[in-house]
């Protein structure tokens, strides 16, 4: 179902708020990843505020969809989205990466039980999501809920990814929906220079996946892609979301140096000013 103009603007505003939270968290933490979290804010917003069946006040609800974040290093955007969705207070976001915080540097479900998995080491999330989808099929729950897996493009270089891709294709796990953050950067540079991944869609298609390619910043396209995945009953779906690393802050965009470092206080001030200007623009357009 298409988003209404009102829904669209609301999601865009929320995504912008989440980006602001990400910047604030990172500057408080003094370490962490900037580019990926900003780039995935729109996808996370659509998931938590539109697509996912979940209950922030009852995270253990058994009927919930499951969301596995494979590339755990972008967890600032996961935490920020969860806080905005009501899982925990916004003030807690500023404890990111601090001793004793529930918001560990990479997600740890023992500290924050609302997480489905602890993650960080790359290439493992899809396998876990495949396991969840197989278990649901065994239990006849494959029609009742979806298993979502969010992955980075750089982590596709891990061989385990393709072991999981083969198994999901073999089992035709239509209850599995994965999404690649195709932002073209990784720590050492651009993916196509570090280790070429293209033709990416063809690779997944060859393993019996249904492919949807979208603009990962267009909330209507993101929502439509997840809706399309729900209508596929023969195979798992892979959404390749083309994103801009560092999206929303001109100085951070498309620069791989922002993969793994936080902004300093001055850069954060500049970034927040830019995001707030953008936020006001979305608001005024909505009026």
């Amino acid at each position: 179902m298409l988003l209404t103009p009102h829904e669209t603007k609301s999601l865009e505003e929320t995504a912008n708020d989440i980006r602001e939270s990400v910047i604030e968290m990172l500057v408080h933490a003094g370490s962490g990843h900037t580019a990926g979290p900003l780039g995935m804010a729109d996808v996370f917003t659509v998931l938590y505020f539109h697509t996912l069946r979940h209950d922030p006040k009852n995270p253990a609800w058994d009927g919930r969809d499951r969301l596995v974040l494979s590339n755990g290093h972008i967890c600032p955007v996961l935490y920020a989205t969860m806080a905005h969705a009501g899982y925990f207070p916004l003030e807690e976001l500023n404890t990111l990466r601090k001793f004793g915080s529930r918001l560990q540097g990479h997600p740890h479900r023992e500290f924050l039980p609302a997480l489905e998995t602890s993650s960080g080491p790359l290439g493992e999330g899809l396998s876990q999501a495949v396991g969840m989808a197989i278990a649901d099929r065994m239990d006849g729950q494959d029609g009742a809920r979806k298993i979502y897996c969010l992955m980075s493009d750089g982590e596709l270089e891990e061989g385990e990814t393709w072991e999981a891709a083969m198994l999901a294709g073999k089992q035709a796990l239509y209850n599995l929906v994965a999404l690649i953050d195709r932002n073209n950067i990784q720590i050492d540079g651009f993916t196509e220079q570090v280790m070429p991944l293209e033709p990416l869609a063809d690779k997944w298609r060859a393993w019996n996946w249904h492919i949807v390619e979208i603009d990962g910043h267009n909330v209507q396209e993101i929502a439509a892609a997840f809706d399309e995945a729900k209508s596929i009953y023969e195979k798992p779906t892979m959404i390749i979301a083309h994103t801009i690393p560092g999206k929303g802050v001109a100085e951070f965009e498309r620069d791989f140096h922002w993969h793994g470092k936080p902004p300093d206080a001055e850069q954060a001030r500049m970034a927040l000013a830019e995001l707030r200007t953008l936020g006001r623009k979305i608001e005024s357009e909505a009026e």
Binding site: T117, E124, S127, G131, A133, M166
Partner: protein, 332 residues
Amino acid sequence: MADAPSRLDETLNPKLFDDDVEEIAIRTGFGEGLVCAGDADPRVVVLSGDLTESAQALAFKKKFPERFVELGVAEQNMAAVASGMAAMGKIPFITSYAMFSPGRNWEQIRTTIAYNNQPVKIAGSHAGVSVGPDGGTHQAIEDIAITRVVPRIIVVCPCDAIEARKATVAAVTTGTPVYLRLARNKTPVMTTDGTPFEIGRARIVWKSDSPNVGFVATGALLHNALLAARTLRDEGIEVEVMNLSTVKPLDTDAIVALAKKAKRIVTIEEHQVFAGMGSAVAECLVERYPVPMRFVGVHDRFGQSGTPEQLVDYYGMGLDAIIDAARKVIAA
């Protein structure tokens, strides 16, 4: 009153010293245990990496095809898929050779199973040099070290097929990850259905009222340890032999009690002596009751092709090596 001579635990197989003692592979006991576990608990599922028959998942597959997953030759995926299945309430057993699981997929086991606190059971067959002709690539002699170092993982090395069956059934109920160390070849059946087994509990299987030395053995080498104890008794050296089937959590009270009683300890394992079962025993005793020790096991080498007996002897774990270690530690 004179002490009674050292003797075999009454619950053990009375024929275990006979030439025609029944021999069954430890992995076979695991395969039987899997079926028992599947019968007892519908949450039990089994994952296979193209070694269904060899790693003894075939009987389970035949009885419970809907609870069996074939993943192909992909042990890293297998560990993490099992983690995901456990997250949905399953109790998965992942089955392969120890060299590949927990060998190749160690980090997946650490992160997706142990760190995630998912109760996946890792069954590693073909542990030890007694794999034989396949050669060193397939002889896992580092697997105790790499599993016992990971928090939460329970490490069990059954001494025979019957104990393997019991350990497999018991592993279902721990609520934790478990590593079951299994061996390929037929080995003597030493225990009986009536021998008590509990994960985390060591058991004295050859008793002595006043031992000169204590043997702590794990896995099928317990048989050599018992043969050595009987031989030494005939020479006037009294031994008490412990079957330490659970390497982690260590039954420290039982080990300290043995050290206090025997004053000398020899550990016996088909594994590198570095960081294996003997090291675990030493870690305990150095802190609580230091006594002279000797370590029977592989000393920093890789295996090779040969018969199991040739290899166990060549790498210093045969009857003579155990007797020699006992004499040396008594002289220490």
